[in-house]
């Protein structure tokens, strides 16, 4: 038996590898191992105050730290009876949009694009595709500027606190975001067209099970109290533990999740498949012209889905800003309770993110975090197997390797966060 | 000195007319604090008793700035980029603070950065019939009144201003809109001025006995007070940053990624930091925090600068800034009690 290990999938965030077992020219097994060392974040927050939680959990992942912060805020606020004003809520949504934008841009231009154009890194693109590089740098800076305005800094901004913002974003800064967001629209449109022109090396015919939050207001948005599934079911986020079942595999430090005993996918592709009809503006136009049944089966469409979401995010900025600045500047709402338990969920760039906290006398008793990448890992393995079987006949190991990497990357796995989704069972019950 | 008066309502008009000189600045509100900031509108200005977080020194001796750039060929400064500014609403103690800094930066070899900013800044002082706050000690320091260091000085006497013209630049500013000034100062106006000052004198809540303090300071060199204070001091630097008469700075070189280019920049330093007086061989002339505090209070309460006078201008900022309550008032009190 020959065993190939593609150690350290490069150009994803964190540490992961794919191992492929091949026997007699046949793929026996493909596994995604997550090597990342343990941090036991959910355990670190036990015995801490809600404020401490908000300092700690964003550090699970640098790229989606605000999603973690937001999910934790929603859970903690619900548990402690805090209801924030509309302006606070909308500013937080704007913050989430900034993060999705910035994360997608990193994935599309820095991690995925070199694959499609055949380069080793995005920096290598500089000679022949300077415009793309400059666009990506500009867009990314804009995403970080959004993070800065709303959360206080580029990464791990502490400004969003329980009940509101330490310092509510200034009107002038919000208006600056509104104006600046429009500069990129045309260029992002051409990026969508570029991604639409790429040929995929693998074909898929089996439909994927998708899942995402169902925004209550009927818009294409990243928040909701219930989850829609492509099989037609819908359930409230409070029940997430029943539907998103976690389990451990012995070859990886990350937990996995199954829905009704089967793998499923969350993230941009899931959202576009489930909510795409709701897209408006230019993003809506691109959705209508590009969407096809293939999007239901082939994970490589994630790239296009993300590109459309980038456009959608840019188009959403002015609308949100206009709504925020019409409202009175909100203060910080103090917590009424010091005990309680609740779930908070947001659509992070890579998909649905759940945070659960149980607070007793002002301190955390237990915590559970389920990250999008954890939910995707099984499907990543599944689609790698399908691809592997198609490609093994080519008998080119290099092609096999690079394609498997490319598919893994399409899921945009944030492996550094997937390592932290281990559920903690100790809840101090026996102590 | 030429003294004029102005109707209360005319200041706004005069303020805008000074735009001809440069950017318009003054005390404005930023979140929970008041700062000297750019005032787009006259209504942004907080023209009432109260203190800014940092003194006016931040505009003349900025907390950090590039001194010059270098490349393989030469060292170059761009002093011509320093903007011209009018600052309306500078407190007397802050003007005294500038006078202290002038002694350091303008005498002997003038510091071109300070000099240029000083020249490009029109200082328009203001005083009210009330002290700025409860921790003002300017009366004890003799800095509640000021007769130099400004271009114009406004005494807010409730229904009108008395305006002192302190420099030729001040005179130029008046000429920008002479119609709003009057020079017929009658007796009632002067009486109002005297009355107002008397009223204010009664309202100061804090004082330091500066007749004896410099000597006591001198005699307390070996006092255990310094060690006690040193044990408490957080070494955070807050007192020196906010003090109008603290001038110390550090210098650091920065290189650019490309070879051979870089810049040298300056940022506020603080004598309370351990590293401040460290020399080769890790020898430190002021190893203990107590010794470092003694140096600082020596400057503030006894002798500083070429003329050897106390540097404290009584602004009270250190009183508000220090989290562990080490400031000119508490130190003075401790010294007086311990003797």
């Amino acid at each position: 038996m020959k065993r190939r290990t593609i150690t350290d999938i490069t150009r994803v965030e964190g540490h992961g590898g794919i191992s492929v077992d091949i026997k007699d020219g046949k793929i026996l097994d493909i596994k995604v191992n997550v090597y990342e060392g343990p941090r036991l974040v959910e355990q670190l927050v036990v015995g801490k105050s809600p404020r401490d939680v908000l300092n700690i959990v964003p550090r699970i992942c640098g790229i989606c730290s605000l999603s973690h912060r937001y999910a934790a805020l929603l859970a903690l606020e619900k548990a402690l009876g805090v209801k924030v004003p509309k302006a606070t809520e909308m500013a937080r949504n704007l913050m989430l949009i900034g993060e999705i934008l910035q994360s997608h841009v990193l994935h599309l231009y820095f991690l995925a694009l070199p694959d499609f154009l055949g380069y080793g890194s995005s920096i290598d693109l500089i000679d022949n595709h300077e415009d793309l590089i400059m666009l990506s740098l500009g867009l990314k800076s804009f995403g970080y500027r959004m993070n800065q305005v709303l959360s206080g800094r580029m990464v791990h901004g502490e400004n969003p606190v329980l009940g509101g913002f330490g310092l509510f974003p200034e009107r002038s800064a919000l208006l600056e975001l509104k104006e600046k967001s429009q500069e990129f629209i045309a260029m992002v449109q051409s990026t969508i067209e570029l991604f639409a022109s790429f040929e995929f090396p693998v074909t898929y015919d089996k439909e994927i099970t998708f899942m995402c939050l169902n925004p209550t207001d009927g818009e294409y948005a990243y928040l909701g109290d219930s989850v829609v599934v492509s099989d037609g079911t819908e359930w409230g986020i409070d029940d997430y533990k029943e539907y998103v079942k976690e389990y451990v595999v012995p070859y990886s430090s990350a937990k996995r999740a199954k829905y009704k005993g089967k793998p499923f996918t969350v993230g941009a592709l899931a959202r576009i498949n489930l909510l795409g009809e709701r897209l408006t503006g230019e993003a809506g136009r691109y959705y209508k012209s590009l969407y096809s049944n293939n999007w239901k089966a082939n994970p490589l469409f994630t790239n296009l889905a993300q590109a459309i979401e980038v456009l959608h995010c840019l188009e959403s900025v002015p609308k949100l800003v206009d709504r925020i600045i019409k409202l009175k500047e909100p203060g910080i709402v103090e917590a009424e309770l010091d005990s309680g338990a609740s779930v908070g969920a947001v659509e992070a760039p890579r998909g649905t993110l759940y945070h659960y906290y149980e607070i007793e006398n002002g301190l955390v008793r237990s915590c559970d975090v389920v990250t999008p990448t954890a939910q995707n890992l099984d499907d990543i393995e599944k689609s790698l197997k399908i691809a592997g079987e198609q490609l093994i006949s080519l008998d080119s190991m290099d092609k096999l390797e690079s394609t498997l990497e490319m598919i893994t990357r399409a899921y945009d796995p944030c492996i550094s966060c997937s390592a932290h989704l281990i559920r903690i069972n100790y809840t101090d019950k026996d102590s | 000195m030429r003294v004029l008066w102005m109707e209360k309502g005319k200041l706004k008009e005069f303020f805008y007319s000074m735009k001809a000189f440069g950017e318009l600045w003054g005390p404005i509100q930023k979140g929970k604090t008041r700062i000297y900031g750019k005032a787009e509108n006259f209504s942004d200005l907080k023209l009432e008793p109260g203190r800014t977080a940092l003194p006016i020194k931040k505009l003349i001796h900025p907390s950090k700035f590039t001194m010059f750039k270098y490349d393989k060929q030469e060292y170059s400064t761009k002093l011509e980029n320093i903007p011209r500014r009018v600052i309306l609403g500078v407190s007397p103690c802050d003007i005294h603070g500038l006078l202290k800094l002038d002694e350091i930066f303008l005498e002997e070899e003038p510091d071109p950065y300070y000099e240029k900013r000083r020249d490009n800044t029109a200082i328009i002082g203001i005083s009210y019939c009330k002290p700025c706050c409860d921790s003002c000690i300017c009366q004890s320091m003799g800095t509640d009144v000021v007769d130099e260091g400004y271009d114009l000085f406004f005494s807010d006497l409730e229904d009108f201003y008395l305006v002192w013209v302190g420099s030729s630049l001040g005179d130029d500013l008046v000429r920008l809109n002479p119609a709003v000034f009057h020079d017929d100062i009658d007796r009632t106006k002067l009486e109002k001025f005297v009355e107002c000052k008397k009223e204010r004198d009664k309202l100061f809540a804090c004082s330091i006995d500066m007749d004896v303090l410099p000597d006591i300071m001198e005699l307390s060199y070996d006092s255990p007070i310094w060690d006690e204070l040193g044990d408490k001091c957080l070494e955070c630097g807050a007192c020196t940053m906010v003090c109008p008469s603290c001038n110390c700075y550090n210098v650091i070189d920065e290189v650019y990624l490309s070879e051979g280019k870089g810049k040298r920049f300056r940022y506020w330093d603080c004598c309370i930091f351990k590293e401040y007086s460290l020399v080769a061989g890790d020898h430190n002339f002021r190893e203990n925090r107590g010794e470092r505090l003694r140096l600082w209070y020596g400057h503030k309460l006894n002798s500083f600068g070429p003329y050897g006078r106390p540097a404290c201008v009584g602004c009270g900022r250190c009183v508000d800034a220090c989290p562990v309550d080490i400031n000119v008032l508490t130190v003075a009190r401790a010294l007086l009690e311990s003797k």
Partner: protein, 261 residues
């Protein structure tokens, strides 16, 4: 430049924040690629090595045997080692319970009593890089600041010593003209925390949580007493000191308690 320096950027246990900061350096990143050979940067490029390095930039703390082995290999192959971010410099949040109770038991509470994964992963409690190898320069911060990164890396590339601020957060907080939170009764770690972030949090009315790690010279006993006076409990104060304090804080707390006894 005739001989371009060979640089590698490697990551251990952390959130990848530092690598993101590097990627956000924009035109300076392009410049960096111009003036040095980036031979290792797994997050951003496909071809990577750890051989013959002039400078290795390390992110994250060490939490498994294999990371430790890799760290040692990198130390052997690199002339200069730079720790990026609070995880690599001090251990990061994952070190906040360092030394508290039995770590293996904690691990098992999470992963189950079955030792299969434990034996495979060979994990250990998080420690910063300098617990195992010599580190030449430190750029703390959670995540580090772009400006401080560029300053340090430019100096190292040009063989001149970098200078990061030696003072605590309060100094910059004063430059920013904030109202002092400690004076308002908040549990602010500004006086104990290394400056360099620009006092971001106090500038947003949020007490500093210490993410730049402990400043070298501080007066911790005084801050501790002050916080007790303000009504915080010892547990609460220590919890905050340790949040980002990593290994140096363990030492500092021990010294402080001895002193106070």
């Amino acid at each position: 430049m005739l001989n371009k320096k060979r640089i590698g950027i490697y990551s251990f246990t952390g959130c990848s924040g530092e690598q993101l900061v590097i990627l956000e350096c924009g035109k300076y990143l392009l410049k960096l690629y111009e003036v040095v050979d980036i031979v290792g940067f797994p997050m951003a490029q496909s071809k990577n090595t750890i051989m013959d390095l002039d400078i290795a930039l390390l992110e994250g703390s060490i939490t498994t045997e294999s990371q430790l082995a890799e760290l040692k290999e990198i130390r052997d192959s690199a002339k200069t080692l730079v720790a990026l971010g609070t995880c690599a410099c001090y251990g990061g949040i994952q070190s906040m319970k360092l030394g508290e109770g039995d770590w293996k038991k904690r691990f098992q509470e999470v992963y189950g009593a079955d030792d299969k994964l434990y034996n495979k992963m060979k994990p250990m409690e998080s420690k910063p890089c300098n617990e195992f190898v010599t580190i030449d320069y430190y750029i703390p911060g959670c995540p580090m600041d772009k400006g401080q990164f560029l300053h340090t890396i430019s100096h190292i590339i040009n063989d001149t010593p970098p200078h990061l601020y030696p003072f605590p957060v309060c100094t910059e907080c004063k430059w920013k003209e904030n109202d002092c939170l400690l004076n308002r009764g908040e549990l602010c770690l500004g006086p104990l925390t290394r400056g360099g972030c620009g006092a971001v949090c106090p500038s947003h009315n949020i007490p500093c949580v210490g993410c730049w790690g402990p400043a070298e010279v501080t007066n911790m006993p005084s801050e501790y007493k002050l916080l007790l006076e303000k009504g915080y409990s010892q547990i609460e104060i220590f919890r905050n000191f340790r949040k980002f304090g990593g290994t140096p804080m363990v030492e500092k707390l021990k010294n402080m308690m001895e002193k106070l006894r």
